[in-house]
Symmetry: C2
Subunit: 140 residues, 2 copies
């Protein structure tokens, strides 16, 4: 396997709701596509370097992968988003909360040298917003 990830697909309860949420955070998407295929409706955001963030109905994802999401131990993860300053961490978390996310805690300094906080999106997916002072540039 090549050291590459091209798409991150989040299972969601309501495509339009999740699309609105991520658009409110500033991500751009042409909207829901694939409705001509049973189980094909999805929405995609092109991120940096061609990485794709996809939203896909949870039941469709389970069906597409021929699995269920009740399986124990499946799925715990988080997505890391780097910004350039402490203030930007606070800003993105405020923006997410305003868009309907739940802050799981206030941002703070962590012993390994970063400043970060987490939010859950409307489907419970965890995002960590991080400032790492050891990185010279976090722009994309």
């Amino acid at each position: 396997m090549q050291p590459a990830i091209h798409v991150i697909t989040l299972g969601v309860a309501d495509l339009e709701r999740s699309l609105s949420f991520y658009r409110a955070l500033g991500l751009k998407s042409p909207g829901v596509i694939g409705t001509e295929f049973p189980g094909g409706a999805a929405a995609m955001f092109e991120l940096q370097n061609g990485l794709i963030l996809a939203l896909y109905g949870r039941a469709d994802l389970a069906s597409d992968a021929n699995t269920t999401f009740e399986a124990p131990g499946s799925g715990e993860f988080s997505i890391g988003h780097l910004v350039g300053s402490r203030d930007e961490v606070d800003g993105v978390l405020a923006e997410a909360t305003a868009a309907g996310a739940t802050l799981t805690e206030e941002p703070h300094d962590r012993p390994w040298g970063i400043y970060s906080g987490y939010f859950r999106d409307p489907d419970g997916h965890l995002w960590e917003v991080i400032w790492n002072p050891r990185l010279d540039s976090t722009s994309t």
Copy 2:
């Protein structure tokens, strides 16, 4: 928020087991780091374009995010990995199965024009291995 994801962190039951699994798939990691910090042990793989795949103890991730993973609706997702041919899809799936993954189904053509199959890693995280004939090059 900038359209960027920098880190994908998978919550795992056993860092060493998961490290071995992903190394068996060909990913390179300097090994477990951060053991000097309580709750800091993790392993990281640098992927294409600086994207990081991180492995982190499930309990540590829950604690770091100040949340629990029993929350309904959290976490269903999949990671997409593009390859250059139908045979490569079969090959990566075989490689993953040999390394201890569970194939959730045999790969097949999907109505939206791709050929793909899914596996679950030892912690249940879903990977979809995809050949998309409409893409000229999927090398990184």
